[in-house]
Symmetry: C2
Subunit: 233 residues, 2 copies
DNA sequence: CCGGTTCGGTGCGATGACGAACATACCAAA
DNA sequence: TTTGGTATGTTCGTCATCGCACCGAACCGG
Protein backbone atom coordinates (compact mmCIF):
# COMPACT_ATOMS: atom_id res chain seq x y z
CA UNK A 1 0.00 0.00 0.00
CA UNK A 2 1.47 3.28 -1.06
CA UNK A 3 1.29 6.63 0.66
CA UNK A 4 -0.70 7.80 -2.29
CA UNK A 5 -3.41 5.30 -1.52
CA UNK A 6 -3.55 6.44 2.05
CA UNK A 7 -3.74 10.08 1.16
CA UNK A 8 -6.53 9.38 -1.26
CA UNK A 9 -8.86 9.07 1.71
CA UNK A 10 -9.07 12.23 3.75
CA UNK A 11 -9.92 10.57 7.03
CA UNK A 12 -6.97 8.22 6.86
CA UNK A 13 -4.79 11.05 5.62
CA UNK A 14 -5.06 12.86 8.91
CA UNK A 15 -3.88 9.93 11.01
CA UNK A 16 -0.28 10.45 12.20
CA UNK A 17 2.23 8.12 10.53
CA UNK A 18 3.02 6.06 13.62
CA UNK A 19 -0.63 5.35 14.31
CA UNK A 20 -1.22 4.60 10.70
CA UNK A 21 1.33 1.81 10.42
CA UNK A 22 -0.61 -0.16 13.02
CA UNK A 23 -3.85 0.57 11.23
CA UNK A 24 -2.42 -0.53 7.91
CA UNK A 25 -2.03 -4.14 8.99
CA UNK A 26 -5.75 -4.73 8.74
CA UNK A 27 -6.60 -2.41 5.88
CA UNK A 28 -7.07 -4.02 2.52
CA UNK A 29 -7.52 -2.45 -0.86
CA UNK A 30 -10.72 -3.55 -2.53
CA UNK A 31 -12.56 -2.80 -5.75
CA UNK A 32 -16.16 -1.70 -5.38
CA UNK A 33 -18.38 -2.58 -8.29
CA UNK A 34 -21.19 -0.34 -9.38
CA UNK A 35 -24.46 -1.25 -7.70
CA UNK A 36 -22.94 -3.56 -5.11
CA UNK A 37 -24.88 -3.56 -1.84
CA UNK A 38 -22.56 -2.97 1.12
CA UNK A 39 -25.09 -2.67 3.93
CA UNK A 40 -28.72 -3.53 4.47
CA UNK A 41 -30.99 -2.11 7.15
CA UNK A 42 -30.82 -4.29 10.24
CA UNK A 43 -28.00 -6.41 8.89
CA UNK A 44 -24.61 -6.73 10.56
CA UNK A 45 -21.78 -4.52 9.37
CA UNK A 46 -18.95 -6.79 8.22
CA UNK A 47 -16.55 -4.16 6.96
CA UNK A 48 -16.05 -0.46 7.21
CA UNK A 49 -15.02 1.27 3.99
CA UNK A 50 -12.73 4.19 3.28
CA UNK A 51 -13.39 5.14 -0.35
CA UNK A 52 -10.49 6.49 -2.33
CA UNK A 53 -11.97 7.19 -5.73
CA UNK A 54 -15.24 5.32 -5.26
CA UNK A 55 -18.53 6.67 -4.03
CA UNK A 56 -21.08 5.09 -1.70
CA UNK A 57 -24.70 6.13 -1.35
CA UNK A 58 -26.72 5.81 1.82
CA UNK A 59 -30.36 5.17 1.04
CA UNK A 60 -33.56 5.15 3.02
CA UNK A 61 -36.62 3.57 1.52
CA UNK A 62 -40.23 3.88 2.54
CA UNK A 63 -41.55 1.06 0.38
CA UNK A 64 -40.37 -1.34 -2.29
CA UNK A 65 -40.41 1.19 -5.09
CA UNK A 66 -39.39 4.47 -3.61
CA UNK A 67 -36.06 5.31 -2.06
CA UNK A 68 -34.11 8.42 -1.29
CA UNK A 69 -30.43 9.06 -0.86
CA UNK A 70 -29.85 10.57 2.54
CA UNK A 71 -26.07 10.63 2.46
CA UNK A 72 -23.07 10.26 0.23
CA UNK A 73 -19.69 8.89 1.26
CA UNK A 74 -16.64 9.54 -0.88
CA UNK A 75 -12.96 9.94 -0.22
CA UNK A 76 -13.74 12.52 2.47
CA UNK A 77 -15.18 9.93 4.80
CA UNK A 78 -15.98 6.41 5.85
CA UNK A 79 -18.96 4.13 5.41
CA UNK A 80 -20.09 2.12 8.41
CA UNK A 81 -20.78 4.92 10.81
CA UNK A 82 -23.07 3.00 13.16
CA UNK A 83 -20.03 0.93 14.01
CA UNK A 84 -18.12 3.85 15.44
CA UNK A 85 -21.15 4.67 17.56
CA UNK A 86 -21.09 1.22 19.07
CA UNK A 87 -23.83 -0.25 16.93
CA UNK A 88 -23.11 -3.36 14.91
CA UNK A 89 -25.89 -3.11 12.38
CA UNK A 90 -26.64 -0.64 9.66
CA UNK A 91 -29.72 1.56 9.69
CA UNK A 92 -29.65 2.34 6.01
CA UNK A 93 -28.96 0.64 2.74
CA UNK A 94 -25.55 1.42 1.28
CA UNK A 95 -24.76 0.83 -2.35
CA UNK A 96 -21.84 1.58 -4.60
CA UNK A 97 -22.85 4.55 -6.65
CA UNK A 98 -19.49 5.20 -8.21
CA UNK A 99 -17.29 2.21 -8.99
CA UNK A 100 -13.71 2.48 -7.85
CA UNK A 101 -11.44 1.41 -5.07
CA UNK A 102 -11.69 1.68 -1.32
CA UNK A 103 -9.74 0.58 1.70
CA UNK A 104 -11.73 -1.67 3.93
CA UNK A 105 -11.27 -3.22 7.33
CA UNK A 106 -13.16 -6.11 8.92
CA UNK A 107 -15.41 -5.10 11.78
CA UNK A 108 -13.56 -6.87 14.61
CA UNK A 109 -10.06 -5.47 14.08
CA UNK A 110 -11.55 -2.07 13.34
CA UNK A 111 -13.25 -2.08 16.71
CA UNK A 112 -9.95 -2.83 18.44
CA UNK A 113 -8.05 -0.26 16.46
CA UNK A 114 -10.70 2.40 16.84
CA UNK A 115 -10.79 1.99 20.61
CA UNK A 116 -7.08 2.59 21.05
CA UNK A 117 -6.46 5.15 18.32
CA UNK A 118 -7.36 8.64 19.49
CA UNK A 119 -6.52 10.30 16.19
CA UNK A 120 -8.82 7.93 14.34
CA UNK A 121 -11.58 8.52 16.83
CA UNK A 122 -11.32 12.25 16.51
CA UNK A 123 -11.25 12.18 12.72
CA UNK A 124 -14.25 9.89 12.54
CA UNK A 125 -16.33 11.71 15.11
CA UNK A 126 -15.74 14.94 13.28
CA UNK A 127 -16.72 13.25 10.07
CA UNK A 128 -19.86 11.89 11.68
CA UNK A 129 -20.84 15.40 12.59
CA UNK A 130 -20.30 16.60 9.02
CA UNK A 131 -22.32 13.71 7.66
CA UNK A 132 -25.19 14.52 9.99
CA UNK A 133 -25.12 18.10 8.77
CA UNK A 134 -25.18 16.79 5.22
CA UNK A 135 -28.14 14.57 5.95
CA UNK A 136 -30.05 17.37 7.63
CA UNK A 137 -29.44 19.86 4.87
CA UNK A 138 -30.34 17.48 2.07
CA UNK A 139 -33.49 16.57 3.97
CA UNK A 140 -34.60 20.19 3.80
CA UNK A 141 -33.40 20.45 0.23
CA UNK A 142 -35.42 17.44 -0.88
CA UNK A 143 -38.47 18.96 0.71
CA UNK A 144 -38.24 22.49 -0.64
CA UNK A 145 -36.31 22.60 -3.87
CA UNK A 146 -37.39 21.52 -7.31
CA UNK A 147 -36.02 18.67 -9.36
CA UNK A 148 -33.64 20.77 -11.44
CA UNK A 149 -31.95 22.44 -8.48
CA UNK A 150 -31.64 19.14 -6.66
CA UNK A 151 -30.18 17.37 -9.67
CA UNK A 152 -27.62 20.14 -10.05
CA UNK A 153 -26.66 19.91 -6.41
CA UNK A 154 -26.35 16.17 -6.61
CA UNK A 155 -24.12 16.26 -9.65
CA UNK A 156 -21.82 18.77 -8.00
CA UNK A 157 -21.59 16.79 -4.78
CA UNK A 158 -20.81 13.65 -6.74
CA UNK A 159 -18.18 15.43 -8.77
CA UNK A 160 -16.44 16.63 -5.62
CA UNK A 161 -16.23 13.11 -4.28
CA UNK A 162 -15.43 11.22 -7.47
CA UNK A 163 -12.89 13.79 -8.53
CA UNK A 164 -14.00 13.65 -12.14
CA UNK A 165 -16.36 15.54 -14.42
CA UNK A 166 -17.70 12.41 -15.98
CA UNK A 167 -19.39 9.40 -14.47
CA UNK A 168 -21.60 6.50 -15.54
CA UNK A 169 -25.16 7.05 -14.41
CA UNK A 170 -28.63 6.42 -15.77
CA UNK A 171 -31.69 8.58 -15.25
CA UNK A 172 -33.34 5.62 -13.61
CA UNK A 173 -30.57 5.42 -11.04
CA UNK A 174 -30.63 9.13 -10.41
CA UNK A 175 -34.35 8.93 -9.81
CA UNK A 176 -33.77 6.60 -6.89
CA UNK A 177 -31.21 8.96 -5.42
CA UNK A 178 -33.31 12.09 -5.71
CA UNK A 179 -36.64 10.53 -4.87
CA UNK A 180 -38.10 11.33 -8.29
CA UNK A 181 -39.62 9.46 -11.19
CA UNK A 182 -37.36 8.53 -14.04
CA UNK A 183 -39.26 10.92 -16.31
CA UNK A 184 -38.72 13.73 -13.86
CA UNK A 185 -34.98 13.20 -14.05
CA UNK A 186 -35.11 13.13 -17.85
CA UNK A 187 -36.94 16.41 -17.86
CA UNK A 188 -34.56 18.12 -15.45
CA UNK A 189 -31.47 16.68 -17.10
CA UNK A 190 -32.60 17.69 -20.54
CA UNK A 191 -33.15 21.25 -19.32
CA UNK A 192 -29.59 21.32 -17.99
CA UNK A 193 -28.27 19.90 -21.23
CA UNK A 194 -30.11 22.51 -23.25
CA UNK A 195 -28.28 25.15 -21.25
CA UNK A 196 -25.01 23.33 -21.98
CA UNK A 197 -24.32 22.71 -18.31
CA UNK A 198 -24.10 18.96 -18.76
CA UNK A 199 -24.16 16.36 -21.46
CA UNK A 200 -25.21 12.76 -21.30
CA UNK A 201 -26.08 9.70 -23.27
CA UNK A 202 -27.04 6.17 -22.39
CA UNK A 203 -25.75 5.97 -18.87
CA UNK A 204 -22.88 8.43 -19.09
CA UNK A 205 -23.11 11.90 -17.68
CA UNK A 206 -20.57 14.64 -18.17
CA UNK A 207 -20.43 17.97 -16.42
CA UNK A 208 -19.59 20.74 -18.88
CA UNK A 209 -20.00 23.91 -16.86
CA UNK A 210 -19.39 23.73 -13.14
CA UNK A 211 -20.08 27.40 -12.48
CA UNK A 212 -23.30 27.29 -14.40
CA UNK A 213 -24.33 24.20 -12.49
CA UNK A 214 -23.66 25.97 -9.21
CA UNK A 215 -25.97 28.76 -10.27
CA UNK A 216 -28.60 26.25 -11.27
CA UNK A 217 -28.32 24.38 -7.97
CA UNK A 218 -29.71 25.63 -4.70
CA UNK A 219 -27.61 27.07 -1.92
CA UNK A 220 -27.66 23.68 -0.18
CA UNK A 221 -24.61 22.63 -2.14
CA UNK A 222 -22.48 25.45 -0.78
CA UNK A 223 -23.93 25.03 2.69
CA UNK A 224 -22.91 21.38 2.91
CA UNK A 225 -19.56 22.02 1.30
CA UNK A 226 -18.72 24.65 3.91
CA UNK A 227 -19.51 22.29 6.75
CA UNK A 228 -17.17 19.65 5.35
CA UNK A 229 -14.40 22.11 4.63
CA UNK A 230 -14.63 23.45 8.14
CA UNK A 231 -14.87 20.08 9.86
CA UNK A 232 -11.96 18.58 7.97
CA UNK A 233 -9.68 21.57 7.52
CA UNK B 1 -32.31 16.42 42.72
CA UNK B 2 -34.42 13.35 43.15
CA UNK B 3 -34.06 9.94 41.60
CA UNK B 4 -37.31 10.62 39.91
CA UNK B 5 -35.81 13.56 38.08
CA UNK B 6 -32.91 11.44 36.93
CA UNK B 7 -35.09 8.63 35.75
CA UNK B 8 -37.20 11.06 33.79
CA UNK B 9 -34.41 11.22 31.23
CA UNK B 10 -33.68 7.88 29.67
CA UNK B 11 -30.06 8.58 28.84
CA UNK B 12 -29.24 9.60 32.38
CA UNK B 13 -31.33 6.75 33.69
CA UNK B 14 -28.95 4.18 32.29
CA UNK B 15 -25.87 5.63 33.98
CA UNK B 16 -24.81 3.46 36.95
CA UNK B 17 -25.41 5.11 40.32
CA UNK B 18 -21.76 5.60 41.21
CA UNK B 19 -20.99 7.34 37.93
CA UNK B 20 -24.11 9.39 38.23
CA UNK B 21 -23.24 10.98 41.55
CA UNK B 22 -20.18 12.56 39.94
CA UNK B 23 -22.24 13.70 36.99
CA UNK B 24 -24.86 15.20 39.25
CA UNK B 25 -22.53 17.88 40.60
CA UNK B 26 -22.72 19.84 37.37
CA UNK B 27 -26.26 19.06 36.33
CA UNK B 28 -28.82 21.74 36.98
CA UNK B 29 -32.55 21.64 36.62
CA UNK B 30 -33.85 24.31 34.27
CA UNK B 31 -37.18 25.37 32.88
CA UNK B 32 -37.41 25.59 29.10
CA UNK B 33 -39.90 28.13 27.82
CA UNK B 34 -41.83 27.54 24.66
CA UNK B 35 -40.09 28.98 21.62
CA UNK B 36 -36.77 29.61 23.35
CA UNK B 37 -33.81 29.24 20.99
CA UNK B 38 -31.19 26.92 22.46
CA UNK B 39 -28.78 26.66 19.53
CA UNK B 40 -28.12 28.56 16.35
CA UNK B 41 -26.23 27.27 13.31
CA UNK B 42 -22.57 28.11 13.64
CA UNK B 43 -22.92 29.37 17.20
CA UNK B 44 -21.13 27.87 20.17
CA UNK B 45 -22.91 25.31 22.30
CA UNK B 46 -23.04 26.63 25.86
CA UNK B 47 -25.05 23.88 27.47
CA UNK B 48 -26.14 20.38 26.69
CA UNK B 49 -29.73 19.54 27.63
CA UNK B 50 -31.35 16.39 28.93
CA UNK B 51 -35.10 16.98 28.62
CA UNK B 52 -37.31 15.39 31.24
CA UNK B 53 -40.79 16.43 30.20
CA UNK B 54 -39.82 19.10 27.69
CA UNK B 55 -39.30 18.73 23.96
CA UNK B 56 -36.67 20.27 21.72
CA UNK B 57 -36.89 20.56 17.94
CA UNK B 58 -33.90 20.54 15.64
CA UNK B 59 -34.56 22.66 12.58
CA UNK B 60 -32.85 23.22 9.28
CA UNK B 61 -33.81 26.19 7.18
CA UNK B 62 -33.14 26.91 3.54
CA UNK B 63 -34.19 30.55 3.60
CA UNK B 64 -35.76 33.10 5.92
CA UNK B 65 -39.27 31.81 5.55
CA UNK B 66 -39.03 28.10 5.19
CA UNK B 67 -37.75 25.63 7.74
CA UNK B 68 -38.08 21.94 8.43
CA UNK B 69 -37.76 19.92 11.57
CA UNK B 70 -35.09 17.27 11.07
CA UNK B 71 -35.02 15.89 14.59
CA UNK B 72 -36.85 15.85 17.87
CA UNK B 73 -35.25 15.48 21.29
CA UNK B 74 -37.34 14.50 24.26
CA UNK B 75 -36.70 12.58 27.45
CA UNK B 76 -35.18 9.76 25.44
CA UNK B 77 -32.12 11.78 24.52
CA UNK B 78 -29.91 14.80 24.74
CA UNK B 79 -29.62 18.01 22.79
CA UNK B 80 -26.15 19.20 21.88
CA UNK B 81 -24.95 16.24 19.93
CA UNK B 82 -22.16 17.97 18.02
CA UNK B 83 -20.49 18.40 21.37
CA UNK B 84 -20.14 14.69 21.97
CA UNK B 85 -18.60 14.38 18.52
CA UNK B 86 -15.95 16.89 19.44
CA UNK B 87 -17.52 19.86 17.71
CA UNK B 88 -18.23 22.98 19.74
CA UNK B 89 -20.81 24.59 17.50
CA UNK B 90 -24.28 23.58 16.46
CA UNK B 91 -25.18 22.78 12.87
CA UNK B 92 -28.87 23.28 13.31
CA UNK B 93 -31.27 25.57 15.07
CA UNK B 94 -32.75 24.13 18.23
CA UNK B 95 -35.89 25.54 19.78
CA UNK B 96 -38.12 24.55 22.64
CA UNK B 97 -41.16 23.00 21.09
CA UNK B 98 -42.70 21.71 24.26
CA UNK B 99 -42.23 23.78 27.41
CA UNK B 100 -41.12 21.87 30.46
CA UNK B 101 -38.04 21.08 32.44
CA UNK B 102 -34.67 19.71 31.49
CA UNK B 103 -31.38 18.97 33.16
CA UNK B 104 -28.57 20.93 31.65
CA UNK B 105 -24.83 21.00 32.01
CA UNK B 106 -22.39 23.70 30.91
CA UNK B 107 -20.18 22.71 28.00
CA UNK B 108 -16.83 22.66 29.82
CA UNK B 109 -17.68 20.32 32.70
CA UNK B 110 -19.66 18.15 30.35
CA UNK B 111 -16.60 17.69 28.18
CA UNK B 112 -14.57 16.58 31.21
CA UNK B 113 -17.26 14.27 32.49
CA UNK B 114 -18.00 12.79 29.10
CA UNK B 115 -14.34 11.96 28.49
CA UNK B 116 -13.99 9.95 31.68
CA UNK B 117 -17.43 8.36 31.89
CA UNK B 118 -17.66 5.26 29.73
CA UNK B 119 -21.30 4.59 30.54
CA UNK B 120 -22.24 8.10 29.48
CA UNK B 121 -20.26 7.77 26.28
CA UNK B 122 -21.91 4.54 25.36
CA UNK B 123 -25.41 5.80 26.11
CA UNK B 124 -24.88 8.95 24.09
CA UNK B 125 -23.23 7.28 21.14
CA UNK B 126 -26.09 4.86 20.95
CA UNK B 127 -28.51 7.72 21.13
CA UNK B 128 -26.63 9.53 18.38
CA UNK B 129 -27.12 6.53 16.17
CA UNK B 130 -30.84 6.44 16.89
CA UNK B 131 -31.15 10.15 16.19
CA UNK B 132 -29.41 9.72 12.86
CA UNK B 133 -31.83 6.97 11.98
CA UNK B 134 -34.67 9.28 12.94
CA UNK B 135 -33.32 12.07 10.78
CA UNK B 136 -32.84 9.76 7.81
CA UNK B 137 -36.28 8.27 8.05
CA UNK B 138 -38.08 11.57 8.46
CA UNK B 139 -36.12 12.90 5.51
CA UNK B 140 -37.63 10.20 3.32
CA UNK B 141 -41.01 10.70 4.97
CA UNK B 142 -41.03 14.41 4.26
CA UNK B 143 -40.23 13.68 0.66
CA UNK B 144 -42.77 10.95 -0.04
CA UNK B 145 -45.73 11.18 2.26
CA UNK B 146 -48.59 13.62 2.20
CA UNK B 147 -49.40 16.28 4.73
CA UNK B 148 -51.99 14.27 6.61
CA UNK B 149 -49.75 11.24 7.16
CA UNK B 150 -46.85 13.41 8.20
CA UNK B 151 -48.96 15.42 10.61
CA UNK B 152 -50.21 12.19 12.18
CA UNK B 153 -46.69 10.88 12.54
CA UNK B 154 -45.50 14.10 14.06
CA UNK B 155 -48.27 14.19 16.63
CA UNK B 156 -47.54 10.62 17.67
CA UNK B 157 -43.82 11.24 18.00
CA UNK B 158 -44.49 14.33 20.05
CA UNK B 159 -46.90 12.48 22.28
CA UNK B 160 -44.33 9.77 22.98
CA UNK B 161 -41.79 12.35 24.08
CA UNK B 162 -44.04 14.75 25.96
CA UNK B 163 -45.87 11.94 27.70
CA UNK B 164 -49.22 13.64 27.30
CA UNK B 165 -52.12 13.58 24.88
CA UNK B 166 -52.49 17.31 24.89
CA UNK B 167 -50.06 20.06 24.03
CA UNK B 168 -50.10 23.74 23.09
CA UNK B 169 -49.40 24.17 19.41
CA UNK B 170 -50.59 26.44 16.62
CA UNK B 171 -51.02 25.49 12.99
CA UNK B 172 -48.48 28.14 12.12
CA UNK B 173 -45.90 26.48 14.33
CA UNK B 174 -46.68 23.04 12.99
CA UNK B 175 -46.21 24.36 9.48
CA UNK B 176 -42.60 25.23 10.29
CA UNK B 177 -42.00 21.76 11.66
CA UNK B 178 -43.48 19.90 8.74
CA UNK B 179 -42.27 22.19 6.01
CA UNK B 180 -45.80 23.11 4.98
CA UNK B 181 -47.91 26.26 4.65
CA UNK B 182 -50.11 27.18 7.53
CA UNK B 183 -53.19 26.51 5.37
CA UNK B 184 -51.89 23.08 4.53
CA UNK B 185 -51.72 22.23 8.21
CA UNK B 186 -55.24 23.54 8.75
CA UNK B 187 -56.51 21.34 5.96
CA UNK B 188 -54.79 18.21 7.26
CA UNK B 189 -55.69 18.90 10.87
CA UNK B 190 -59.30 19.54 10.07
CA UNK B 191 -59.48 16.23 8.22
CA UNK B 192 -58.11 14.46 11.29
CA UNK B 193 -60.55 16.29 13.50
CA UNK B 194 -63.45 15.32 11.30
CA UNK B 195 -62.48 11.70 11.82
CA UNK B 196 -62.35 12.35 15.57
CA UNK B 197 -58.68 11.45 15.81
CA UNK B 198 -57.73 14.80 17.29
CA UNK B 199 -59.30 17.98 18.51
CA UNK B 200 -57.89 21.47 18.64
CA UNK B 201 -58.65 25.10 19.15
CA UNK B 202 -56.57 28.24 19.26
CA UNK B 203 -53.18 26.79 19.95
CA UNK B 204 -54.17 23.68 21.85
CA UNK B 205 -54.12 20.26 20.29
CA UNK B 206 -55.46 17.11 21.85
CA UNK B 207 -55.05 13.57 20.64
CA UNK B 208 -58.29 11.65 20.94
CA UNK B 209 -57.60 8.37 19.21
CA UNK B 210 -54.04 7.09 19.20
CA UNK B 211 -54.80 3.92 17.28
CA UNK B 212 -56.67 5.82 14.64
CA UNK B 213 -53.81 8.25 14.36
CA UNK B 214 -51.39 5.39 13.85
CA UNK B 215 -53.46 4.14 10.98
CA UNK B 216 -53.61 7.59 9.50
CA UNK B 217 -49.85 8.07 9.81
CA UNK B 218 -47.30 6.42 7.57
CA UNK B 219 -45.14 3.50 8.60
CA UNK B 220 -42.31 5.92 9.33
CA UNK B 221 -43.61 6.37 12.86
CA UNK B 222 -43.27 2.69 13.69
CA UNK B 223 -39.95 2.45 11.89
CA UNK B 224 -38.39 5.20 13.98
CA UNK B 225 -39.96 3.94 17.17
CA UNK B 226 -38.47 0.51 16.66
CA UNK B 227 -35.01 1.93 16.19
CA UNK B 228 -35.24 3.82 19.47
CA UNK B 229 -36.67 0.90 21.36
CA UNK B 230 -33.89 -1.33 20.12
CA UNK B 231 -31.10 1.17 20.70
CA UNK B 232 -32.20 2.00 24.22
CA UNK B 233 -33.65 -1.26 25.43
C1' DC C 1 -66.74 46.89 26.62
C1' DC C 2 -63.77 48.05 22.82
C1' DG C 3 -60.14 47.53 19.46
C1' DG C 4 -56.34 45.11 18.02
C1' DT C 5 -54.16 40.82 17.46
C1' DT C 6 -53.82 36.06 16.91
C1' DC C 7 -55.69 31.85 15.19
C1' DG C 8 -58.19 29.16 12.14
C1' DG C 9 -61.17 28.40 7.80
C1' DT C 10 -61.93 28.86 2.88
C1' DG C 11 -61.58 29.69 -1.97
C1' DC C 12 -58.73 30.76 -5.99
C1' DG C 13 -55.57 29.91 -9.94
C1' DA C 14 -50.83 28.31 -10.66
C1' DT C 15 -47.47 24.75 -10.57
C1' DG C 16 -44.49 20.92 -10.02
C1' DA C 17 -44.56 16.33 -9.73
C1' DC C 18 -47.13 12.00 -10.37
C1' DG C 19 -48.49 7.54 -12.88
C1' DA C 20 -49.20 5.47 -17.02
C1' DA C 21 -48.66 4.73 -21.68
C1' DC C 22 -46.17 4.88 -25.65
C1' DA C 23 -42.36 6.30 -28.98
C1' DT C 24 -37.68 6.45 -30.22
C1' DA C 25 -32.69 5.69 -30.06
C1' DC C 26 -28.84 3.11 -29.10
C1' DC C 27 -26.06 -1.11 -28.07
C1' DA C 28 -24.77 -5.76 -28.10
C1' DA C 29 -25.32 -10.47 -28.64
C1' DA C 30 -26.79 -13.92 -31.79
C1' DT D 1 -27.88 -7.85 -39.79
C1' DT D 2 -31.42 -8.85 -37.17
C1' DT D 3 -33.23 -8.87 -32.63
C1' DG D 4 -33.96 -7.78 -28.08
C1' DG D 5 -33.01 -5.20 -24.22
C1' DT D 6 -31.87 -0.90 -22.13
C1' DA D 7 -31.85 4.16 -22.04
C1' DT D 8 -34.09 8.20 -23.06
C1' DG D 9 -37.93 11.31 -24.90
C1' DT D 10 -42.75 12.85 -24.84
C1' DT D 11 -47.51 13.41 -23.78
C1' DC D 12 -51.61 13.67 -20.94
C1' DG D 13 -54.78 13.77 -17.27
C1' DT D 14 -54.60 13.96 -12.18
C1' DC D 15 -53.30 15.51 -7.76
C1' DA D 16 -51.06 17.64 -3.73
C1' DT D 17 -49.35 21.56 -2.53
C1' DC D 18 -48.35 26.37 -3.25
C1' DG D 19 -49.00 31.51 -2.68
C1' DC D 20 -52.33 34.78 -2.06
C1' DA D 21 -56.30 37.00 -0.37
C1' DC D 22 -59.80 37.52 2.63
C1' DC D 23 -62.94 36.26 6.32
C1' DG D 24 -64.77 35.36 10.97
C1' DA D 25 -64.06 33.95 15.54
C1' DA D 26 -61.70 33.86 19.73
C1' DC D 27 -58.85 36.06 22.89
C1' DC D 28 -56.45 39.91 25.42
C1' DG D 29 -55.20 44.31 27.23
C1' DG D 30 -56.73 48.71 28.24
Amino acid sequence: MTDETQLANRVLACIPAKDYTRLQANLELTELKFGAVLYQPGKAIKYVYFPTNSLISLLTSVDKRRSLEVGMVGNEGMAGMPFILGIGVSGVRAIVQGAGSALRMPAAPFRVEFDRNRALQQALYRYTYALMAQISQTAACNRFHDAEARLSRWLLMTRDRIGSDQFPLTHEFLAHMLGLRREGVTEAASALRQRKLINYSRGKIQILDVRGLKKSSCSCYQTVKKVFDRAQG
